[in-house]
């Protein structure tokens, strides 16, 4: 067996490598621009996976030893099969290897797996193109293992020396016999004699030569005790033809073919022939042995003359482009991509997702109809491909673009970009057939994972996304290998992720972060986020209050959280009254914004605000100072906080609030705005206002009177008050149905105040919050949305009056749902219920985990990095040093992986392992080394001869080993005892 160990393995980049780089860059960019820790994390995981797959691709082929079986001779133009043995010498084994012969017919042979330490046999078709002596056979190994980002190639040249006879071709007639056969008397000159053909005249006997047909041996003579003699016949002619190389005026190949043809003809005709080649002459004779000798000589001659002709063979298209998709991975990929698209429902128009689902259904339907491979080893020319699939894909694309344009209005926002991507994916899915197409789908899938994380990055969503990411990776591994079975790809992906994650985690903390906030933010214009807006209509807040979603979370770093009755979170102030119940923010009302110095009694809060798509920031009533993104935000003239861009991402800022009332001035414009009434105030309301105002009452007294009056009217507090519409909505509420929610109470009260001449305005925000003991923070949900009233009192300034609190006092201490379900009694009942308590604590626990996730991962930025480095005592390391550390970490991890991948194939039997250990030890002690083909007892004898001191020990150990390893197992001994006695040797 001729063995040729390793030729260099080349790892080439391909289109997928470029795509991968692009995706990594996009992830990094998204992380930097959004300050999005999860995107950073995903970026590092992808980067490390990419690097590791490069190394794995290289080592995969490097560890293969190729040896060739016996390859006989042949004729030019024929196909032969080259038997190969691939041996995986490393503990990793070799996976997904395509074996291609450079001289072949362009077919590859795909080997799924060569298990570690074992061998696989393949036979590769080889086309013999030219006559001559073939010195070597070139075999190409190619693999896209493990994830298809790189294609590793290794060319192996296996030494062989086989004679390839020219193909018998040509039309020229056999030359005329031109020379007498040397020596007419055949019996006396056996060397030149020719056996001739049976049926001609018998011409005598000659001595037997090796290679002569046994048929012509004169057996009778042999039986009589004479030596082996061969019978000969003579045909009519006694002349031989000369086949002369030089005299043929043809190209070399044709010349060799012609002579080969003549040899065949002469053999058939029984004409003796001689051959004259450059530098060689073969005497006239006939017979198979002579023909073989002549053809061999001819091969050598044609090889010598054609040495200059270079072999140029184009390598065939690989498995990557020509194999069909296996059906099951396609199904799984479809499911995974569908899950990913579901995650994007909040960003992408539903119609685009629906279209994508349609494509998935169509593709799976086509699969059912037999649009799939018949055989795995498809012809290299490419699978027959229904052209309609391409048209179908294109039409889906066009339809999708139109759909996106219609539903989002533009094609150039981020949402529509993602939608277009989804549509593209659907179109590609329909027409994809080969692993190459599959890879494209998978890479787009990875990009979709990034898109999933752009809008929100909660823990559950991140985990879900990571699951999709890993699932796609499994599919990628699966496509490389092209066969059934899920466990090996699953195992490989898990191992790769397990190796990549720690490195990615270190990079996450070490790789220098830079804020690219100055670039345009990858924000989303949210259209359907729940949250309060700058307009209050009947039923609007109650709709928000039905949602259990978190609005923001608050930590109190310096103090205890305030009393429940003081937890008013101020967001917006509404000045403009439309019809008594509907209020709007209206035009900005100019006024002096009050700037107070902070005091130590002020309450400081760190607020983590969920995105709501508007500009306001919440703060405990009354906010006096806030800092966001390093900058200071001062309250507006109506004591609300806002920033100049929409809150589209999770946001963390600090607010300082004063819980006591502040005296302030009321400007003229503010006063007129705070007293402006809608034109169609009903006489009944005017009468009520007049009654409340009374004679000479102060504003305070008026307010008290109004509250007392309203309390008498017995309002019902409910989340579903029904609708109040039309110009008489306020009257209907106040005087007829008296069923309402906080927005109705505050709207009616403020209108009444204005009608009574007291400046009033509406504040909307949140009230209350749920305290999380585990996390040490307050959760404010959308359900806590609230509206209240502020009136202007001389000497006191704007004063909060919450009519809801006056009319439904229980609302101050209970959250809305408990209150509506039955108030205090319900609360008691709930507290008594084990289920309720566990559910609540589980909910709070999960929320605090989410909060920690946000604090440690998502918001991990330059500052936290510096703080972390300071904590490690490496505070002085900056920028470029951290890049160096990251590179070193990556390099070290790759080195570690390299050593792990190159580990030798394991010896499965502990006895064998120990025996080899003993042999190595004996060698160290000066005994001769064991030959691989030496059995244990023989070796022990040899050692005993060389080292008599060790003889008895080694003999008994060798006997024990031999009896256990080759024995029936009935007398199996404990290998640990063997190990112990092994250690005592020497």
């Amino acid at each position: 067996m001729k063995r040729r160990k390793s030729n260099t393995t080349l790892v080439r980049w391909n289109l997928h490598t470029v795509s991968l780089t692009g995706i990594v860059l996009a992830m990094g960019y998204a992380g930097a621009v959004q300050n999005n820790g999860v995107a950073y994390g995903l970026c590092f995981v992808t980067l490390v996976l990419g690097l590791m797959s490069w190394l794995r691709a290289r080592e995969n082929l490097r560890g293969v030893e190729v040896s060739m079986g016996r390859l006989g001779g042949g004729k030019a133009g024929e196909m032969a099969r080259l038997p190969l043995e691939l041996h995986a010498a490393t503990g990793q084994g070799a996976w997904g290897v395509e074996v291609i012969s450079a001289e072949g017919d362009g077919r590859w042979t795909f080997l799924e797996e060569v298990p570690a330490g074992q061998s696989s046999h393949v036979s590769v078709p080889v086309k013999i193109t030219q006559a001559g002596v073939q010195q070597s056979v070139r075999v190409l190994l190619r693999s896209a293992y493990p994830l298809g980002f790189f294609s590793a190639e290794r060319e192996i040249e296996i030494a062989t020396s086989r004679r390839i006879h020219p193909k018998a071709e040509g039309k020229l007639p056999l030359p005329k016999p031109d020379r007498p056969i040397a020596g007419q008397n055949l019996a006396t000159s056996p060397a030149g004699g020719r056996p001739g053909r049976e049926g001609d005249d018998f011409a005598g006997l000659r001595e037997y030569h090796a290679g002569d047909s046994l048929k012509h041996v004169d057996w009778r003579a042999v039986a009589r005790g004479r030596p082996m003699l061969v019978k000969q016949w003579s045909s009519g002619s006694t002349q031989a033809v000369t086949l002369d190389w030089e005299k043929l005026d043809l190209p070399d190949t044709a010349r060799a073919s012609q002579i080969a043809r003549w040899i065949e003809e002469a053999e058939i005709n029984g004409t003796p022939y001689a051959m004259r080649l450059p530098g060689m002459e073969i005497d006239a004779s006939i017979g198979p042995a002579h023909a073989q000798r002549c053809l061999d000589a001819l091969s050598e001659t044609s090889a010598a003359t054609q040495e200059t002709a270079k072999r140029t063979s184009r390598l065939p298209a690989g498995h990557e482009h020509s194999a069909h998709l296996p059906p099951w991975p396609l199904l799984v990929l479809c499911i995974i991509l569908s899950l990913a698209s579901l995650l994007m429902l909040d960003v992408v128009p539903t119609s685009a997702v629906a279209l994508f689902f349609g494509c998935v259904g169509l593709r799976l339907g086509l699969l059912e109809k037999g649009w799939r491979p018949k055989s795995k080893n498809a012809p290299a020319a490419g699978p027959t491909h229904p052209r309609s699939a391409t048209f179908l894909g294109l039409s889906v694309l066009v339809a999708g673009l139109i759909l996106v344009k219609i539903s989002t209005g533009t094609l150039f926002s981020m949402e529509s970009g993602i939608a277009v991507l989804l549509v593209l994916l659907g179109g590609k899915l329909i027409e994809s057939r080969t692993p190459h197409d599959f890879q494209v789908l998978s890479l787009v899938g990875w990009f979709l994972c990034l898109c999933c994380l752009l809008s929100t990055q909660t823990l559950s969503r991140s985990l879900w996304t990571f699951g999709i990411f890993a699932g796609i990776a499994i599919c990628m591994v699966r496509f490389r290998r092209g066969a059934d079975g899920w466990l090996p790809p699953l195992r490989l992906t898990s191992v790769m992720l397990a190796q990549a994650l720690p490195v990615a985690a270190v990079l996450f903390f070490v790789f220098p972060r830079s804020s690219l906030g100055f670039l345009e933010r990858l924000g989303t214009e949210r259209t359907h986020v729940t949250g309060i807006s700058s307009m209050m209509e009947p039923g609007k807040i109650s709709k928000i209050a039905a949602s259990d979603a978190v609005s923001f979370r608050v930590e109190f770093p310096d103090s205890e959280p305030p009393e429940p009755t003081l937890r008013y979170w101020r967001c917006l102030v509404l000045w403009q009254c439309d019809d008594g119940l509907t209020w709007q923010k209206g035009l900005p009302v100019p006024g002096a914004s009050s700037a107070w110095p902070t005091r130590h009694t002020d309450s400081k809060q760190i607020i983590t605000l969920e995105p709501h798509g508007q500009k306001w920031l919440p703060g405990l009533d009354i906010p006096i100072h806030a800092s966001d993104d390093g900058g200071t935000v001062l309250p507006d003239s109506d004591d609300t906080l806002s920033i100049n861009r929409n809150v589209d991402n999770l946001r963390r800022f600090t607010v300082t609030s004063r819980l006591t009332q502040q005296k302030s001035d009321l400007s003229e414009s503010q006063k007129s705005a705070a007293l402006r009434l809608p034109a169609n105030i009903s006489p009944r309301l005017q009468a009520l206002a007049k009654e409340v105002r009374g004679q000479g009452r102060t504003n305070t007294q008026i307010a008290q009177e109004a509250v007392l009056h309203l309390q008498k009217l017995k309002f019902e507090y409910t989340l579903e008050p029904g609708s109040y519409e039309g110009p008489n909505a306020l009257d209907e509420f106040l005087f007829e149905r008296r069923v309402g929610f906080c927005e109705h109470f505050s709207g009616a009260f403020a209108t009444l105040m204005r009608a009574a001449g007291v400046p009033a305005r509406i504040v909307i925000g949140y009230m209350g919050g749920e305290w999380s003991d585990r996390g040490g923070y307050l959760i404010v949900r959308q359900a806590d949305a609230h509206a209240w009233t502020e009136i202007w009192l001389e000497n006191q300034g704007w004063t909060r009056v919450d009519p809801t609190a006056a009319l439904v006092p229980a609302r101050m201490t209970l959250d809305l749902r408990t209150l509506l379900a039955g108030g205090e009694e319900e609360l008691e009942r709930q507290r008594g219920s084990f289920l309720w308590r566990s559910l609540t604590s589980a909910r709070l626990w999960w929320d605090s985990v989410e909060y920690d996730w946000y604090n440690t991962v998502i918001s991990f930025d330059e500052e936290s990095q510096i703080a972390w480095m300071n904590w490690l005592g490496l505070g002085q390391l900056r920028g470029h040093w951290m890049i160096v550390i990251s590179l070193v970490v990556m390099l070290l991890s790759l080195l570690g992986l390299l050593f792990w991948l190159r580990r030798p194939a394991p010896a499965r039997d502990p006895w064998l392992r120990l025996w080899l250990q003993l042999c190595r030890k004996l060698e160290r002690l000066g005994a001769p080394a064991r030959k691989p083909s030496e059995g244990p007892l023989n070796y022990a004898e040899r050692v005993a001869k060389a080292k008599p001191g060790l003889a008895s020990q080694v003999r008994s150990l060798a006997r024990e080993y031999a009896e256990t390893r080759y024995g029936s197992g009935a007398a199996a001994q404990d290998w640990r005892a063997f190990q112990k006695s092994l250690q005592s040797v020497g």
Binding site: G225, S933, G935, L937, S968
Partner: protein, 314 residues
């Protein structure tokens, strides 16, 4: 040592049985070695061949003791011994027997030939024509002879020791490969070394010694040991080794047939029993490999040695 035949329940070879067999076989080889001097290894291999129920082919020049060894083997076991000298005009009927018309009975009666014996020495088998050779080889394979459509069973045991002159001598018919395969082993006795030859020259005539030799072992005993040899344990690693050997032989030219693999295994088992082991070790395979493999390979001994050198022991 009991001489009962093995019962089907005796499926495991115990160490005691193995060592007892080994001792008994040692007495046999010792007795034989008294007659054939200086050829312990060849004698042991010949007994191994008998133990593995195979046939033996001696290939050596005349006068080194082939016939003597065969006779000694037969006599020491108390077996019926016959000898046929093969010549080029020998016909199949001369060996197998023929149906001859019995005038008194008025029918054909089968007259068994020399093949109906327990130990047959086919001397110079390569002198006979292929037709005659194949008649014998068929009898060896089938264990019976068919004459005029009537099968005649050969006695048990039926052990053929064939000798042949080295093929370099003119006027012989080499056994073709397919027929060589029927012989379990091919042995060469070779010229004895100087000391052994001196002892032989000084001592009594070997034939006389042979005539005086009593049977060492009964046939029943040997049959039992043949059964035991089949029970010698063969482990997976050993089968790996065996298959590696076969595969290596096939990778370069016409390799060994599956029948050759079976032969090698049977011989290795018998050798292991001779050594008193209950399991086959790679050493056992190596000990019998040369005589078992050499005549089955194109390049003979050289190639067999190379294979043993190259194939690692697992």
């Amino acid at each position: 040592m009991s001489s009962r035949p093995a019962s089907p329940t005796d499926l495991v070879l115990t160490a005691a049985e193995a060592s007892a067999s080994s001792e008994r076989l040692a007495t046999l080889t010792d007795a034989l070695s008294c007659i054939i001097l200086g050829k312990e290894k060849a004698v042991r291999l010949a007994v191994t061949c008998l133990l593995a129920r195979g046939h033996l082919l001696f290939e050596d020049q005349p006068g080194v003791g082939k016939t003597l060894l065969s006779q000694a083997l037969a006599q020491s076991l108390g077996l019926l011994f016959r000898r046929v000298q093969f010549t080029s005009d020998l016909l199949p009927a001369d060996i197998l027997g023929a149906s001859i018309y019995d005038r008194e009975a008025g029918s054909f009666t089968f007259h068994p030939g020399p093949v109906f014996t327990q130990v047959l020495l086919a001397d110079e088998i390569n002198r006979a024509t292929p037709k005659t050779q194949s008649a014998l080889l068929e009898a060896m394979e089938e264990g019976k002879v068919t004459c005029d459509g009537t099968p005649h069973t050969l006695p048990v045991p039926f052990f053929v020791i064939a000798t042949q002159n080295p093929s370099t001598q003119i006027g012989t018919f080499m056994l073709p490969e397919s027929q060589l395969d029927r012989f379990l082993m091919r042995l060469a006795l070779g010229i004895p070394d100087r000391t052994a030859e001196r002892v032989m020259l000084q001592g009594q005539d070997r034939r006389e010694l042979l005539r005086a030799m009593p049977p060492v072992m009964t046939w029943n005993e040997l049959a039992h040991m043949q059964q035991l040899a089949r029970l010698v344990h063969v482990s997976d690693p050993l089968l790996d080794y065996l298959q590696d050997l076969l595969a290596a032989s096939r990778s370069a030219g016409h390799g060994m047939s599956p029948r050759a693999g079976l032969a090698l295994l049977a011989a290795a088992r018998a050798w292991a029993l001779m050594e008193g082991r209950t399991m086959v070790l790679p050493e056992d395979v190596q000990a019998v490999a040369l005589p078992v493999m050499a005549h089955r390979l194109a390049n003979g001994v050289e190639e067999a040695e190379r294979l043993l050198e190259e194939v690692p022991v697992p």
